[in-house]
Each structure stands twice: as structure tokens, then as C-alpha cells.
Symmetry: C2
């Protein structure tokens, strides 16, 4: 195919008319297709059906130590649940895990809020009393991380993503010079939406970081720790190993969940933190709640049994969603390759494909798609304040819809990408 | 029995020696008995055993409207779960309910924290920016309410309890004159630990209250809404009816949970608030989490079916715990009645008996009990800052232990009560 960038005005005009006609055909079909959120499909959820029944009577409710999971007791999670997480997360220190509620997002929100009201461990001033504070936001990134900052009035500084993680020069520049920079959001494996896994070098640089603020924290959201699309494991270095080496364990708040392993909303979330951090957090947490749902913790332990159980389960997930990712990429290849107006990521895991349309057209592509019943994540959502400086990035979430719907939606997305690019190029001529 | 207050020094000395000998016998038995926390017994938890199995496959996971409870979606709870709560709480407006996580304590903590960081609805200054703020604390009361204030640095003002609720003259005095008074903790039915149910007059006075602070809120923790010990229902007026009458709906944050209906830790918590309050809260909540455990919400709906289901279930609870409450009262009657050194409540519901030992001896009674293996809730715990001005109140939680253990523990408690009183009276002679 000829690149749009090399087309004459006439060629582009013809192309635009052609694609608009195709779109009109789609419009007539009154479609409703949804590529917005990273949700598992029903077939994926069915993989965990047997978990629903593993606890069916009182006898199933007693822990290894004889604790009655149906009653009050234990703030920070059953030992066997901690063990399961420690195993499948590969080396996260078991004794530093807290098994919390059903949502790692909630755990992260609560953690920022705790810092706001109580400061971090060591008796530092609460963030709320330090005037304007800032977080570093590698982007494109996870919109709900940014929403936490926005809601709490924390200024966000965008950080460029590279193929091996956040641009660490930028991170060091800000974090090591400005004591009002208090944190950074990281999705270190199969990042949302780029699908990037941080290189060992980047992980080590995070561990080696000596921030200007004594109360700086790295929010390490390992949301896709075991979410490989292919058989080959993508290795993420264990940040705690490096942190131990550099003596910076206190800088890290680590999060993970089973939301996309078992059930979103009915899974388990964990937080991992250093002894010093836990010593500060637990008494506050004990004021907030008596404890979390231990029956559901037991349900997970009984269903998965061990790390191998989790890994086998995730292979079954991959088998269901890999064809969907591949369908998106194949459709992009077929309709957009060589046009010079779009590029996209080739993730080996996670829940998203990140697409870059012609600069200045992401919002237009989003609107065009919407006009024919294809819902995408709002253009700009992957950037702090919803502001994509290039107006170029779109996040594609292919897991939830049926394969046929994904193919159709992606074709329409290609058409809209072409229309928006042609319009933009013609404007400039 | 002769009152201790009328005894001569010799009589008291004899009595003291006698009771000390009894205690020494108990000590030799190396007992471990626990009357500390309001926990259901295993037999009570067994009443909900069938709930564990009501959701055993995918087919059980779809709501009335076809929503897949296993996946993301719905921030504030399934409609059928709201309906169930609205029914059994008697007139709480269904559309104003949010079904939250597993813990109403957590919902209350989060609500205070939201007020600290965002202020209340209407654009008022966050509490955290208003200097020293205060809460009214009817007491004896629930220690975990007080812990929230203490942890968040909110000054606590004790309010006297009367047989029909908090002393409303005191409440009005503080709330209507001091704009730094921002809230009050209420357990309006079978209060913890007094077992008092607020009279209609008191409920109406709360609704009629015009606080000095525009951002004052009443934390209405209806923890024991259906927790009658006897067949006869104890009626608590619906505060929302009165609030509507006085136009003060915005003053109330209402909480309830199934922690002592189904499973502590694996139950459901709700919050009810006015439209105006919900309008402020929901967007913040949407930043905090994507949603709560809807499978567990469905589990509760399928098991209880309706308000009648809840009520029948609570009668079975009552049948199990009523004899325990009666055993405590009978033991008190037998060993303490007429001695003039102790009184106690006669609750018709809830989880506690509130005992008043001879002034200045509650801590001593607590220690004496502890020295022979009987654990009570810490003396003073039922007061702000753990300071019982009379050093007199003890909270007895008779639900968890076996009946035989309760009888034994209460006998020991009577012995310790007598010893401490005799010691104190002798001191004064």
C-alpha cells in the first residue's frame, strides 16, 4: 500500500471518499461494539467456575492452623494465602505480604490516602501538610492511577515510556532534585497500555534511586505478573532483591491482585511492604477494619492450590485471549501497514494493545468510531489530565468481546484511522 | 445478702478473705476464658452454612437484569441486594443505599477520611484544613468508633447515655454552639455496650438538630438492626422519615452490615446517604475502587431471599445466644444482687451486657479476672481515650464462648467484683 504521507491531494481525496463510504456502510448496520475496558470475557471467567464450589460447607472454612475463616480474626490475611501469592509472584517476601480486600486499586488509593493523612513511616509530615506535591506518571499509563492523583489534588508529571520502561533519566531528574515529588506509578510487567516489561536495568535503577524527598514512594503495581499471552515466560526482575542490595526496601509499595486471574471484583488484592512500612501501616489499617474476607481467601487457596495451579490456569486464559490479540494485530497489518499513519504495540502479555494514530487525530478517531457504535477508551485517557500531547494514543482492550466482534471493531477502527489521517493531511495541503 | 456498703470493717475483711480463697481455687484450675469481643459462636456461623453453597456455578452468578456478577461493573451494589437491605432495615430508602465491602467499620473509616480530605457535600472546607475538630461520643460506646477519631486526631467529647439514648441536652449544647464539632457516633438500636434503643423522641431530636457546623454529620451505625434476643420486636424509629420531615437528610450517614447476620468478615456492609451526599461521594468512591464483591452480594440474596428470611434467621441466632445472656444475668443476680456494688443492663438484643462495678474498681476487676485466665474487654475501652471517669464500666460479650464457659467466667467475674469492691471499701475505712 502507498503511504498516505506520499499521496497527492487527489489521491488522498479519493482515499477519503472511499473510506467514508465504507464507514457509511458500517453505520447502517447499527453496531454496538466495545473495546473500552480490560475486562475478562465470560469464557475466561468460566475457567474459574469450579472455584465457586470449593467452599460449600463449614468443614471447608478452617485454615491450616485451625482458624475459623468465617469469623473475625487476622487483619492481614491467611498464611496459606500469603504463601500462594509469594510463590506465584516469584520471590516476593511472604512475611511482608498483606492480603487485603477485593481490589488492588482500592489498596493503592488507601495507601496514597494514608500518606496524605499520616505521612510515610518514620514520622514524616503528612503529605496533606506539605503544600503542592507531585507524582511522576510514566505514560501512556493506567487512567485509574492518574484519577487517584487528580482526585486527591496531586500534580502529575508525565514521564516518557521507552521500550524497557520509564525514561529513567527523566525519573532521576525529577525525583532526585525536587522534594515535592513524592511518588511514581509503575506497572512493571506488561504495562497498561504499552505491554512493556521493565528491563533488569530499569528495575535496578528504581532500586538504586535516592530521591530528594525522604518520603518518596514507588507504587509498583504488578497487575499482570502472570498474564503471559504466549508459552514463554517474560521475566521481570524481583524488585525486592535489588532493593535489599541498595537498602531501599522502604521506598516500595508493591501491589498485585487476582482480578484478572480469578474474578474481577471477587478476587484478592495484596500489598507488599518493608517491615518498617508495615509497622506504620498495620495499626492504621487495624483502625480501618477488623479484617478482610477470609472465606474468599480460602476459596482461592483451595482452587489454585499452588503456583503451578495459577500458571496452568493462566495458560488457559492465554489460549482464550491470544487469538483476540492476534486478530487485532492482523487486522492492523492488513489495513494499516505501510500507510505511514499508525503504529501499534505487539504485546507478549497483559490486557492491551497500544495504538498510535496520526498525530492530532486520536480524538477524531475515537469520535468516528463512536459514531458507528464502536466504543474505545476515551482518547487521552492514558495520559495525566486526559491530555495526550500528541493526540495520538488509543488503548485497545481486546479481551472481552467475541473474536468476530473484535475483528469487526478493529476493521472499523482502521477505517476511522484512515479517514482521520486523510482529513488531517488534506487540511495541511 | 447484706450490702457491702453496710458492712463493718470486720465483716468486709471476712468477706474479702472468703472471696480471695475462692479466687485462689479458680487460679489453680489454669483456665482460659474469653468474654472480650462481640463475636458469633461457631454454632451461630453454622446457621449460615448453606449460604456457602448457594453459588456453586456460573449459572448462579447472573443478576435479575442479566448482569454477570463475576465481572467488573456496578459501583454501588446489585439492585436485589439493595432491595434486601431496604426491606429488612425497615424503610431505609432503597435508591439511597450503597452496598460496599465486607465491613461497615471500613465504610465509616472511609467516610470520615473522605470528610477529612474532601469535606462534606456542598463544597465545604475539608476537615483537615479546619484545625482542631471534634466528635461527640455517647459513652459507654463502641471502642472502634473512638479509635477512628483517635487515629485521625479528632478530639472526642464524651456524652452521657440515658435509658432512651444519648443525653440530647448535652448533644444540643455542643452541636448547636461549637462549629468545630463535626460529628457524633450513634448506635441507635441495642447500643454497644448498653443495649439501649433510642426512643422515638431521641430519634426525632437527632432529625431536628440544627448544628452550628454546616458540615456536621451524624454517623448512624445501625449495627444491630435485627438482633433481637426475644420474640418481641424492639422498634427503632426510621430516622429518614423524621429527617425528611425536618429537611435534614444531608446530616445523616447511615451504616449497617450482615457481619453478625451471615459471616463476620465475609458479610456485606452498606451505607445510606441523601442524594446530595451520594452525588459527592460516588465520584470519589469511583476513584477508590471499580466495585465490590458482587458474587458475595448475590450469595446473600440467594440465601436470605427476603426480609422474612433474614428475620427467621435472626430468630435462630437468638435461640442460640439468649441462654448465654440469661446465664450471665442469672449469675449476676445470684452472686451480686443486693450487695450494692454492681449493676448491669438487661438487654433485649445486641451483643453485650454492660456492667458497672463499684466506682474506681473496673481496672482492678479486669486485672483480677485476667490473673486467673478470664479475659474481659479492657476496662475503659468503652470510653474515649480509654478513660472511664468512674473506672466502673465493663463490657461483657457472652456470644462466643460455650454456655458452660460463660457461667464459669461470670462466676469468676462476680468474685473479682466483690474482691475489688471490698478492697476499695476497706481502703476508705
Amino acid at each position: 500500500m502507498k503511504s498516505y504521507l506520499e499521496m497527492t491531494k487527489d489521491e488522498l481525496t479519493t482515499e477519503l471518499a472511499l473510506e467514508r463510504a465504507i464507514l457509511a456502510d458500517w453505520e447502517a448496520k447499527n453496531l454496538t461494539l466495545d473495546l473500552t475496558r480490560g475486562k475478562p470475557s465470560q469464557a475466561q471467567l468460566d475457567l474459574s467456575s469450579k472455584m465457586l464450589g470449593v467452599i460449600s460447607d463449614r468443614g471447608d472454612c478452617f485454615s491450616e492452623t485451625g482458624l475459623d475463616c468465617r469469623n473475625y480474626g487476622i487483619l492481614d490475611g491467611l498464611p496459606e494465602t500469603k504463601k500462594l501469592f509469594a510463590e506465584f509472584l516469584g520471590g516476593v517476601p511472604e512475611e511482608n505480604i498483606m492480603v487485603l480486600g477485593n481490589s488492588s486499586l482500592n489498596a493503592m488509593y488507601d495507601t496514597v490516602v494514608r500518606c496524605m493523612l499520616f505521612g510515610v513511616a518514620g514520622g514524616h509530615e503528612p503529605w496533606v501538610r506539605q503544600g503542592r506535591i507531585k507524582f511522576l506518571c510514566p505514560c501512556p499509563g493506567y487512567d485509574r492511577h492518574f484519577a487517584i492523583c487528580r482526585t486527591l489534588g496531586i500534580e502529575m508529571i508525565p514521564i516518557r515510556m521507552t521500550p524497557e520502561g520509564p525514561d529513567m533519566d527523566e525519573v532521576y531528574n525529577y525525583a532526585c532534585s525536587d522534594p515535592s515529588v513524592k511518588g511514581i506509578w509503575c506497572v512493571p510487567k506488561f504495562s497498561n497500555p504499552e505491554g512493556i516489561t521493565y528491563s533488569d536495568r530499569v528495575v535496578e535503577q528504581f532500586a538504586a534511586l535516592k530521591p530528594a524527598a525522604v518520603d518518596f514512594r514507588i507504587f509498583w503495581d504488578n497487575a499482570y505478573a502472570v498474564h503471559e499471552l504466549y508459552d514463554e515466560e517474560v521475566k521481570l526482575a524481583n524488585v525486592f532483591d535489588y532493593a535489599l542490595q541498595y537498602g531501599t526496601q522502604d521506598n516500595f509499595f508493591y501491589f498485585a491482585s487476582t482480578s484478572k486471574i480469578s474474578f474481577p471484583g471477587s478476587g484478592l488484592a495484596i500489598m507488599v511492604a518493608s517491615e518498617k512500612n508495615l509497622e506504620q501501616i498495620k495499626p492504621i489499617l487495624a483502625t480501618q477494619t477488623i479484617g478482610y474476607d477470609k472465606i474468599n481467601q480460602m476459596r482461592h487457596v483451595k482452587f489454585f492450590k499452588d503456583a503451578d495451579g495459577v500458571r496452568a490456569h493462566m495458560k488457559a486464559h492465554a489460549a482464550l485471549i491470544r487469538p483476540k490479540f492476534e486478530a487485532v494485530e492482523q487486522t492492523f497489518d492488513k489495513y494499516l501497514d505501510g500507510l505511514g499513519i499508525a503504529r501499534w504495540t505487539h504485546p507478549l502479555g497483559g490486557y492491551f494493545i497500544s495504538m498510535y494514530v496520526y498525530p492530532g487525530t486520536a480524538k477524531r478517531v475515537y469520535q468516528l468510531c463512536r459514531s458507528v457504535g464502536v466504543n474505545l477508551t476515551q482518547a487521552g485517557a492514558t495520559y495525566p489530565y486526559g491530555r495526550d500531547p500528541e493526540d495520538s494514543n488509543l488503548r485497545i482492550a481486546p479481551t472481552f468481546p467475541e473474536l468476530s466482534e473484535i475483528k469487526q471493531a478493529t476493521k472499523i477502527l482502521c477505517t476511522c484511522t484512515k479517514i482521520a489521517a486523510a482529513e488531517k493531511l488534506l487540511e495541511k495541503m
